[in-house]
Symmetry: C2
């Protein structure tokens, strides 16, 4: 009889647990080219739900989708000095096409600021052409040394928003607004209690004036940068001569922003909510919210499947994503484990005696089973899915809080980052930040936007602290 | 005062009309790398509607989306002899990545049969793993010599469906089913009266046993291959050792299919329905179905905009895609031309006297204006949009019929393909087909599935005809 083997326990080897769960739940598989993955239907359905939700939020804030090409002339990337320095070590380059060597090698986009900047320089003439509020869902390539499914892959899927504005104020507001959209998505759809704020100079995007970020804590205490929103100032406007005639008839450079979220968020969801039995998926983006497992013998098959079908229609009619597992070749026990591994929030068990009694058993992926009347069961689910979401978020918040310590000396700092987040004062000197990384493997993750104003001295070097508040340090993915 | 310049008239230069309309309606623009384009928001919104509709049809027929990588090892493409012969002249190749030369150059996918075949060889073990019904929406690269926006671009967006089955019959049914989905989409959503059928041996997909296609006629009489569905037999199964243990416990090769539709369909929509004033978009996929143009002076501005807003809400409430053009810097006349250029099916003109009288003027992009009561206007629109669709389809059918001739001698054949489709008998010899192309620029587009059975002799060489029916020949995009 087929049995579902579980993943390596988290406590034994968290890293291996992650890889096991991705394979076993059929989220993704390794592809033949180093660092590339195949996203399988169950993983892709999760990504589609992320996309659909975010895409609606982008459109509601006035953005439109477009598509810019995969190929960028190498010379474009060289126009913004910090940008090329940051990205050139990771570029994949096309040198031959159509059987011939190309005159100019083509970079495969690692991000699209440069090519969008070039097009804007053609499109934007007047203040009437502003703001430009664009987004694209696409694939980008960054050749990474150490890769890991979803978290760090040579090619990945993401969205990249790009906007151009007439004033600095408007561009800074946009930078903040889009980080706000990401935080909203993280908390209210993915149940991730993220910490929003700014990156330090050392950690900012190559070419940005400053980068805002949201950082999440994984179940091993490490941080995951889950989305970023960059204020690019006039850096790309100057590099690509993107100017407009303002209302005062003066020719000015535009102010630009960019912001992105990738399939890395799936890694964050897996490592925040999962447990030793497998995935636990946030209900609002779970591909399947309720799975019905009919339990029958030959003689009860028809009646049980009919009841399961009725319930499934009722749930689908309420807009829920429901699946009935009517595979004959597997036992109910196998199916229970399989759907637990796949992280489906609720399971309905429906046997012949249930059907006769007009009841069903409702099991939550967070634990607990109860027998409920079939009548009204469907109607009760939306509220339970909301409660499931709230509980996931609460659990993750509690965990993050427990593993976060305000520290004022370097010894305690090292202890703190070995198991979670350290809130520490820092001098702001990139050289000191680098030394911390070399000595502890921890990096400055975020200067939290809503941390209280505090003054102190650098946890490592003792010089006066920058930022006017504590900074989150952690080991990061 | 700003004025909308029209495109080059179709009668003067159809090819230039096409390029003009794409630029002027802001569907797309040329990108810096040869043969690549940027799809601008209006063009991308049209593509999104194509995607959404087709994606729903794929899911309704049991397919699931997935994502396979952009990079394919060169050696994979060489495993299927015809496949590599067909695609290697068009490959773009990555030779360097991460600052180093790669050991094995990587092809950028021109299509994904090979990499999906490789993954299937790992995933498929038993008849229980079949059928595999996958689809992906992605970008592919084919280095073309002569490029043209949407129709032939070095990189393009498309969907590629890939399925694997236990039996030949099932795979052949799938091939036919998916062509049927495309035909349904073409007729009932894009208003394109396509001709479904099979490709000749010479025109089939590189690696297929046979290719089915749907061909549409553009307004210059040329043909456009609008989607294809391939029966791949066991060609890729043998190349990639994709086997399964069947119910009879024997190890067998699977049978596979693939099918694709690209943004080329947008070119087909433009060239089938457009006229000298610009685009005419099929209402079911038009980004904007109804545009409201409020007409006011300073003193009537508030009242007119309020009425426009009420109407817009009413239309949106009925699920229609509506846009109110409240740009102060343009005249109503400019706006009328602008939205005609952009092909919006219906325009509502709303002036102060209309608001007082409780009426509005409804103008159709196909001609005709009428004054209607505001009450009930919104409710009348869905039916009118359907009628608009029907009229578009009827017009295109009539045009196709007028420009299609059954011909039995080579002189008349040449006349027919100079202005449309020729229905002719053909011997089926690829060498004769090639000679026809060289002599007339026309190719065998499709052996129509629903043509009556007829016998005859080859229109060029006089040998007995193959196929048992007439074949559609035309000059093609």
């Amino acid at each position: 009889m087929a049995k579902v083997k579980g993943p390596t326990p988290q406590s034994e080897d968290f890293s291996q647990w992650y890889l096991d769960v991705i394979q076993m739940a059929e989220l993704a598989d390794y592809a033949p080219v180093r660092g590339t993955i195949v996203v399988r239907p169950y993983g892709y359905a999760l990504w589609e739900n992320v996309q659909r939700t975010l895409d609606g939020m982008f459109k509601a804030t006035g953005h439109q989708n477009a598509y810019f090409p995969l190929f960028i002339p190498m010379s474009f990337l060289q126009k913004e000095a910090e940008h090329v320095e940051g990205f050139s070590p990771e570029l994949a380059v096309v040198t031959h096409a159509g059987g011939e060597e190309l005159e100019e090698p083509l970079a495969i986009r690692p991000t699209s600021e440069t090519i969008i900047g070039y097009m804007w320089s053609k499109w934007i003439r007047s203040w009437r052409d502003l703001p430009q509020l664009l987004n694209q869902w696409n694939n980008v390539v960054r050749w990474e040394m150490r890769t890991r499914p979803f978290l760090r892959t040579s090619e990945f899927l993401w969205q990249e928003g790009h906007t151009a504005h007439a004033t600095r104020e408007e561009a800074e507001q946009e930078t903040a607004r889009m980080l706000g959209v990401y935080v909203d998505f993280a908390k209210n759809h993915a149940a991730l209690p993220v910490i929003p704020g700014r990156k330090t100079e050392r950690e900012k995007f190559a070419g940005a004036v400053y980068t805002t970020t949201m950082e999440a804590m994984m179940k091993d205490g490490r941080a995951l940068q889950s989305a970023t929103s960059h204020f690019l100032g006039q850096n790309f406007a100057r590099a690509f001569e993107i100017t407009f005639q303002d209302k005062d008839l003066k020719e000015k450079y535009v102010w630009t922003t960019s912001w992105g979220l990738s399939w890395r968020i799936l890694g964050g969801i897996i490592m925040t909510h999962g447990d030793d039995r497998g995935l636990v998926l946030p209900p609002r983006i779970a591909p399947i919210q309720v799975v019905i497992v009919p339990i029958y013998r030959a003689e009860s098959r028809e009646a049980v499947l009919a009841a399961a079908d009725r319930l499934a229609r009722e749930l689908a009619g309420l807009g829920l994503r429901v699946h009935t597992d009517d595979r004959d070749q597997y036992t109910p026990g196998f199916k229970f484990h399989d759907w637990e591994l796949k992280g489906v929030p609720f399971r309905v068990e429906l046997g012949p005696r249930d059907v006769e009694a007009g009841t069903a058993v409702l099991a939550s992926r967070l634990g607990g089973k109860e027998t409920l009347p079939l009548a009204g069961l469907a109607q009760a689910l939306p509220e339970r899915l909301d409660a499931f979401h709230d509980e996931l978020l609460r659990r993750a918040e509690r965990f993050q809080k427990e593993r976060t310590r305000a520290v004022d000396d370097y010894r305690t700092f090292k202890e703190a980052v070995a198991e979670g987040f350290a809130l520490a004062f820092h001098c702001g000197d990139p050289a000191c930040e680098k030394a911390i990384q070399e000595e502890t493997k921890a990096t400055a993750r975020v200067v939290p936007a809503d941390a209280p104003a505090e003054e102190g001295v650098c946890v490592r070097c003792g010089r006066p602290a920058a930022y006017g508040r504590r900074v989150v340090f952690a080991r990061a993915y």
